[in-house]
Amino acid sequence: MGQQRITRAECAHVAALARLELTDEELDRFTGQLDELLDHVAEVEALEIDDLVPTMHALPITNLLRPDVPGDVLDRDEVLAHAPFAEDGQFRVPPVLGEAP
């Protein structure tokens, strides 16, 4: 393994963005694992690929489209019965600070 590609702090930041709570021991372990993954990415990056056309998707298909025709909707009461909290036909959630990012 060469130089370290990701720091413990960066790993903690990524975990925070994904709303993951990690213990110190987990943070150490995952930093090491991510570092190994990035080593692998670096190996791929080193390949000579000048002759290759970039791949947009794993499948060689484009333009899978659906006609603009209305279909069935879900029953609201049934849906809300699965929600932890509901009120006035809406999902009730904890208060959110500020507006959507």
Binding site: H13, L17, R19, M56, H57, A58, L59, I61, T62, N63, L64, L65, R66, P67, D68, V69, P70, G71, D72, V73, L74, R76, V79, L80, E87, D88, G89, Q90, F91, R92, V93, P94, P95, V96, L97, G98, E99, A100, P101
Partner: protein, 483 residues
């Protein structure tokens, strides 16, 4: 001004002429499809909360998005109308945690948007560059309850996912606007284009057209961009203008007092007429965009794009130019207004049908603000013809117009129904003769050349006919009686 107001940035001195305001706008428009971008729930404004929902718009496990063909077609129409290049594109996930998006990401286009490198022309002739116009899905609506209704004190929130997944086109313009007025013209032009190509209803008041504006200021003559602030919650053209004016003053005041601008997202408050900091860029979200694996790349064929291009209607810019040709002496503002209100066709047809351009445009701009209703081009041309011939006064014409808008029909019939029909010559003659014999003193003074008495007799005729008579005809009659 009070000391307190002077101390608040933005309420200080009016914009200094040594500063230049720089504005770049992001316009989000809901596309006028029947269904959502990736699922078959209806795309419809209003309705009871959470009645336009399906597994995809709720982000239920196992659900998969399938792209709406109509949304793509409308996006291409917008791209073509904005002179963009239509290119192969891919969708990306924009990751963030917020209850308005139940799957915890929004599907958008990121590094490969469908439309790039376009421009639009303001009615003033100035061209504004369009960086991109990409497809993305709208979010759900959250309502904050409790805590006095203020966002930061909210007790809890309620979420309605009817809007989640509605197709949006986001049009990102280059920061080439230089004033609040230009920004308003730009948004009005974008809206006209969206409506003209049938991509959106363009209703700011219903939230189907939303604008985020990036505002910065710099010393006049500088070619460097200043630190910008992004303003959200601008819900009308009027608030857009007010928000930009306030924000540029705030920034100028900060800079002239030696302070720095902090890059921020700010919220426009319509009630106090100010922008307020929402969050600073330091705590900005890291969206971790990556290609959406559940959707395939979009690569519209040249044939399809060409077909859409052929079907594009006449665009606002071309429509303005056509109207200027037939009504060359009309103000540019009035030409733009006629096109924006979609009454340019009516104006053109009325003018081509023989209506005097000035009078036609006056009615279009001043008397038809609520739309033409039942008014036909022929009726408008006929009405203007009656005004030209002196059969109707301007005030009477306005009332006739109102009747035509409400119920259609011909201007002659409408004028008659209001009692405005031209008077029979015999009726007018006997009326004048009667006045002459009832006012012998006035008549002899008139005959001696006292011009003031003309007004007296015309006034008497008008009073007797309640304004129906043509003043010119009365004067002629008086002179012929004098012999």
């Amino acid at each position: 001004m009070s000391a307190e107001a002077a101390a608040i940035p933005g309420l200080g001195a009016p914009a200094d002429t040594e500063w230049e305001t720089v504005v770049g706008l992001e316009v989000h428009a809901e596309l006028a499809t029947e269904t959502k971008l990736f699922s078959a729930s209806p795309n419809r404004f209003g309705g009871d909360p959470n009645t336009h929902i399906d597994p995809v718009s709720l982000g239920l496990p196992g659900s998969l998005p399938v792209l709406n063909e109509k949304a793509v077609e409308l996006a291409i129409r917008v791209g073509l109308a904005l002179n963009c290049r239509i290119q192969p594109s891919v969708f990306a996930r924009k990751n963030y945690f917020y209850p308005d998006m139940p799957k915890d990401y929004q599907i958008s286009q990121y590094d490969q948007p469908i439309n790039v490198d376009g421009w639009l022309e303001l009615p003033t002739g100035k061209r504004i560059g369009i960086e991109r116009a990409h497809l993305e899905e709208d979010t759900g609506k959250t309502v904050h309850i409790g805590g006095g209704g203020r966002i930061h004190e909210a007790g809890y929130s309620l979420v309605d996912y009817n809007r989640a997944g509605v197709p949006l086109i986001e049009i990102v313009g280059h920061p080439e606007l230089r004033s609040a007025t230009e920004a308003r013209l730009y948004v009005a032009e974008v809206r006209s284009i969206l409506v003209a190509v049938g991509a959106s209803d363009g209703k700011m008041e219903e939230g189907s057209l939303r604008v985020d504006c990036n505002v910065s200021v710099r010393p006049l003559g500088s070619d460097r961009l200043g630190t910008r602030c992004e303003i959200k919650n601008v819900n009308s053209l009027r608030s857009l203008g007010r928000a930009i004016e306030y924000e540029s003053r705030r920034q100028i005041d900060l800079l002239t007092s030696g302070q720095a601008i902090e890059q921020q997202t700010r919220h426009w408050n319509e009630d106090d007429g100010r922008t307020h900091a929402l969050r600073s860029k330091e705590e900005d979200y890291d969206y971790r965009y990556f290609p959406e694996p559940d959707l395939l790349p979009l690569d519209p064929s040249p044939e399809w794009v060409e077909q859409i291009r052929q079907e594009l209607p006449s665009l606002p810019r071309d429509r303005r130019l056509r109207l200027v040709e037939v009504a060359p002496s009309t103000d540019a503002d009035h030409i733009a207004l006629a096109v924006e209100r979609s009454m340019d066709e009516l104006a053109l047809a009325a003018i081509e049908g023989g209506g005097a351009p000035e009078r036609v445009m006056t009615h279009i701009v001043h008397n038809l603000a609520d739309g033409p209703g039942q008014l036909t081009p022929d009726a408008l041309a006929g009405l203007v013809g009656m005004e030209d011939k002196g059969e109707l006064t301007a005030t009477q014409a306005k009332r006739v117009l109102a009747v035509l808008v409400d119920g259609g029909g011909s201007p002659q019939d409408a004028a008659q129904s209001l009692g405005f029909e031209a008077m029979d010559t015999g009726e007018l003659e006997s009326l004048v003769d009667g006045l002459i014999s009832n006012h012998p003193d006035e008549w002899s003074r008139f005959c001696d050349g006292d011009a003031k008495l003309t007004g007296f007799f015309v006034g008497q005729v008008m009073k007797a006919t309640r304004g129906r008579a043509d003043g010119k005809a009365v004067t002629q009659l008086l002179h012929s009686r004098k012999g």
